[in-house]
């Protein structure tokens, strides 16, 4: 994203990132007994990367076309290195211990997995997703963990990702791509486009379109295969197979927000001495009431995954044909999972801050506050985000940190963005000041909170 901007922004962002890390560590040590997970640096990264390289070398030996895969393996290693260096993946004992147990259950119940070198990392990404890199490495996002309802759902997700690796989907795709791009026909087609005098852009676009459609079609097939095999892996464990279906339902956009309480603008952001203004919620009119899809790309053809509903039907059909051998939704202490989820909710807000999206960070912080209005951790995060948005707007960098309303967004989030969009800088300072004033008594021992309080006080007095 930074390529859009000139040096001052990059400098601003670097300073902000450093401040975020310092503040998050500081604020948790002073006000909250729990440590922030996402600021916990992954230990001994040199050994991790050394072991990874060793494993990569041994994996490469299995393939005839090493040339085609060598570059892919190097990219995977560099990618992990990049995530470790940027602190996008983190380590936390109780979380990793919890996932280790599920991993062990899956591997020990499936003999065919026992000789495989498998590893996973938890990333601070807020997106509810997990992925397989194709070398036995899996990445589980914190945004996924907070959304899951039980341990069984996480078990299915891991089974699905392990299946991708077991079926060698990633490497087979890379080999197929290598072979295709090295055929005479492919090279001839590229040369023809390069030599064309007229309509070159359109030809090149059609060529890319054709190849992407084929690739995405294979990808959707791979997902189906991973669902099937993942279900078999899960069947052999003691987890309830039906959790594969409940997990898929979570991915459906209908159940988008975990916290159902809508933001009460006239309650949460209404202050005795600074009442909420109706004007702040005025919605702007659009030229067109809908987004008009460009008809160039066929939506279904560029999806990497099959439709969620199709996947649910497939899983239900499969489950109905076999006799489930267990109905455990959890095999570990449920309270432990609840604690992990609670912490993951806080990490989720931090991760939006980490990925420079203060709009979402504030939206989710205030939404959580609606359910737990005196939660000190959430209040501190809100204080921090108010200050960050103020600073970015004052420096004319608002667009780098807060989205604007869009027809693509969920209505409730769009409404919130519209509110942020409508308030002027001085109004933001006044709202922030009165927010700090309201919670002054409960948080007056927190240095960062008091600093922010004094900052906004000075701004509105001037």
């Amino acid at each position: 994203m930074s390529y859009l901007f000139t040096d001052p922004l990059i400098k601003f962002k670097s300073i902000m990132k450093l401040l975020i890390v310092c503040l998050l560590i500081f604020s948790y040590t002073t006000t909250n007994a729990q440590d922030s997970w996402t600021t916990t640096i992954y230990p001994d990264t040199d050994t991790v990367l050394f072991d990874l390289e060793k494993d990569h070398s041994s994996q490469l030996k299995k393939y005839d076309n090493k040339r085609a895969l060598k570059k892919v393996y190097t990219q995977r290693k560099e990618y992990i290195k990049y995530l470790l260096n940027t602190k996008s993946i983190f380590y936390q004992d109780s979380l990793y211990g919890y996932i280790d147990f599920i991993f062990d259950q899956i591997v020990s119940s499936n003999a065919e997995l026992q000789d495989l070198e498998l590893r996973y990392f938890v990333s601070n990404s807020p997106i509810p997703n997990a992925s397989s890199l194709g070398d036995g490495t899996f990445i589980i996002n914190i945004g996924l963990i907070r959304k899951l309802v039980n341990e069984g759902q996480l078990a299915f997700i891991l089974c699905h990702e392990i299946s991708h690796y077991y079926l060698d989907h990633s490497n087979q795709s890379a080999l197929a791509e290598y072979e295709k791009t090295n055929t005479k026909e492919y090279r001839k087609e590229v040369k023809t486009i390069q030599k064309t005098d007229f309509g070159k852009a359109e030809l090149s676009k059609s060529f890319r379109k054709k190849n992407l459609y084929i690739k995405m079609s294979y990808s959707r097939q791979n997902e189906k295969e991973a669902d099937s095999l993942g279900l078999i892996f899960l069947y052999k464990t003691n987890y309830d197979m039906n959790q594969s279906v409940t997990c898929m339902n979570l991915l459906d956009s209908i159940d988008r927000y975990k916290y159902k309480n809508e933001i009460g603008y006239y309650k949460t952001l209404n202050f005795e001495k600074y009442p909420f203004k109706k004007r702040w919620l005025e919605e702007e009119s659009l030229i067109f009431g809908k987004k008009v899809e460009a008809n160039y790309w066929e939506r279904d053809s560029i999806k990497s995954h099959p439709d969620v509903k199709t996947r649910i039907t497939f899983l239900n059909n499969y489950i109905s044909r076999i006799q489930p051998n267990s109905n455990h939704t959890s095999m570990q202490d449920i309270k432990r999972f609840d604690r992990i989820k609670e912490q993951a909710d806080y990490e989720f807000i931090d991760s939006w801050i980490f990925y420079d999206d203060y709009g979402k960070a504030l939206f989710f912080a205030i939404k959580q506050l609606e359910s737990d209005p005196n939660n000190k951790v959430l209040l501190l995060k809100t204080s921090y985000i108010f200050k960050s948005i103020y600073d970015s707007q004052a420096d004319h960098l608002y667009s780098s940190y807060v989205e604007r309303p869009s027809l693509e967004n969920e209505a409730e989030y769009n409404y919130f963005l519209n509110f942020l969009d409508n308030i002027r800088l001085i109004e933001l300072a006044r709202i922030s000041y009165h927010f700090h004033l309201t919670h002054y008594e409960s948080l007056k021992n927190d240095e960062e909170f008091i600093n922010n309080y004094n900052f906004f006080k000075t701004i509105i007095r001037n």
Binding site: I127, I287, E403
Partner: protein, 507 residues
């Protein structure tokens, strides 16, 4: 694919994070940017249009792309268009009901006028020959580097009115008439064209003043010889919006003065009266000398085109009480005033927004240096209450030498000052003036500065952004945005990429 890009693809694939926020827009494959600009709904920015060349299809045919974005830079329409090398987007205007886009192919001398409804459905496509239209009038803005034809106006939920200059005898410099085209927004209504008297030996020029579902009011200026002066024989022409029939045409005459009309202040009231605002000049003033007005005037005209009331605000007697100004409107030791706009707010106060300027003659151009902003506040009786001078950074606009003798006031009526713009909210309680200026910092590098002055609840605030360096690799400019924002546009020559972002203004 280079390594950094592969890493980025992996990162996006795995993290699927919303790395590009929606208020940033990148458009690739922009081989030649033909035109881009804001789409206004009344005084507010509702979106943007852009039109660019993407491909060469044959020796003579080219592929173009038309994009329409909303005010938050979300893409609404993307349409591929084929045409000759000389295809221009002449206008893109919105009337709160339909969007009208007008193209002109100067090789085929054809106009294509397309309208889209509020569901972005194409509701009409009209193709018509340019005929006797003086086409330089259409393409000249491009040659001057200034986009969009200022002669097409939206009329709220009713239609669009288009003014064209027409060479009535085939020789533009000998005889010039005009045609006014009406394009209705409703498919069941007919287009019409009103043409000036083709047998007239005078140069006739028409300018839009006001339009609604009943009436379209234009000022008509007649001169004996070719002239681009804003003075001459002035008349008011009223046309019936439904039929295009003439309702009246009245000559504006006065024993001592002559007039130029700037704009209508309000909509027509229930009794059919409308208030016009402009400048008045001595009767004997040289047509070419536009900068020596005696002052400003307001006039109420009734439904028959008769003047029922006139107010004069003279530089010498009225304005000089508030600002050091001489009788011709020259600010002593400073220069002239260039008025951008007149705004009447909900409480009846009228604000005239002007800028001090100086003119410098260069070898090929004339340079207009715009300096401090001046706001004349008038009460509802058109009496000056206050004149505020707001210090701001200078901004410079270059014009071809052809215009060297013309006042910026006149130039503004002819072409738009795109980098200096005024915006207001619907009830006019907030209005702002924005300007940009490029300052050379190295041989091939310029720095772009954006300034804004906003008037909110009778308080003035200023904001200033140092945007980007403009180099031979990229061009940077600004576009008007929804109130309280500005759009910053970068065009990267090598990448053939257009990048836009919307940034908040602090006020």
């Amino acid at each position: 694919m280079n390594f950094k890009r592969i890493l980025l693809v992996l990162f996006i694939t795995v993290f699927a994070c919303n790395t590009s926020l929606s208020q940033k827009k990148t458009i690739s494959n922009v081989y030649t940017l033909i035109d881009m600009g804001p789409i206004l709904a009344e005084s507010e920015v509702s979106g943007y249009y852009m039109f660019y060349k993407t491909d060469r299809l044959s020796e003579t045919e080219f592929s173009y792309e038309l994009k329409i974005l909303d005010q938050n830079l979300n893409e609404l329409i993307s349409q591929k268009i084929e045409g000759t090398y000389h295809l221009y987007l002449v206008s893109c205007v919105y009337n709160n009901e339909t969007l009208l886009i007008k193209f002109y192919d100067s090789m085929k001398r054809m106009f294509t006028i397309t309208q889209y409804d509020n569901n972005a459905e194409e509701i009409s496509v009209l193709k018509e020959s340019a005929g006797d239209t003086f086409t330089n009038n259409i393409t000249m803005p491009y040659h001057l580097g200034i986009s969009n034809n200022p002669d097409l106006f939206p009329m709220n939920k009713c239609g669009f009115i288009d003014y064209r200059s027409v060479a009535t005898t085939g020789d533009f410099f000998k005889c010039l008439g005009f045609e006014i085209d009406f394009y209705p927004s409703q498919v069941d209504r007919e287009n019409w064209t009103f043409a000036s008297d083709k047998s007239s030996l005078l140069h006739n020029r028409a300018k839009f003043i006001y339009g609604d579902k009943n009436i379209i009011l234009s000022s008509i200026l007649k001169n004996k010889k070719f002239s681009i002066s804003q003075l001459g024989e002035l008349s008011l022409l009223a046309l019936d919006t439904k039929t295009g029939e003439k309702v009246y045409e009245k000559i504006v005459s006065h024993p001592k003065y002559q007039f130029s009309i700037m704009s209508a202040i309000d909509a027509i009231d229930e009794e059919g009266n409308i208030t016009l605002f402009g400048f008045y000049y001595p009767k004997e003033v040289n047509e070419e000398d536009n900068s020596t007005s005696l002052g400003m005037f307001s006039a109420v005209i009734d439904s028959s085109g008769n003047f029922s009331e006139r107010n004069y605000i003279s530089w010498e007697d009225d304005a000089s009480k508030f600002v050091d100004i001489n009788k011709e409107g020259f600010l002593k030791d400073i220069g002239n005033i260039f008025f951008h706009d007149i705004i009447k707010n909900a409480d009846g106060n009228i604000y005239l927004i002007g800028e001090q300027y100086n003119r410098n003659h260069k070898i090929y151009t004339v340079e207009i240096v715009l300096k401090n902003l001046m706001i004349f506040q008038l009460n509802s009786d058109y009496e000056i209450q206050e004149v505020k001078t707001i210090e701001k950074e200078k901004s410079v606009i270059d014009f071809p030498l052809l215009f060297s003798f013309k006042s910026p006031q006149y130039l503004a009526s002819f072409i738009k000052f795109e980098n200096n713009f005024i915006q207001s909210n619907k009830d006019k309680s907030i209005f702002s003036y924005s300007y940009t200026n490029k300052v050379k910092i190295k041989r091939k590098t310029e720095k772009l500065f954006f300034g804004n002055i906003t008037y909110t609840d009778s308080e003035l605030s200023q904001d200033y952004i140092e945007i980007e360096a403009v180099t031979y690799k990229k061009d940077v400019s600004t576009l008007p945005a929804k109130l309280g924002n500005v759009v910053i546009v970068e065009y990267l020559n090598a990448e053939k990429e257009l990048r836009m972002r919307i940034e908040k203004i602090n006020y």
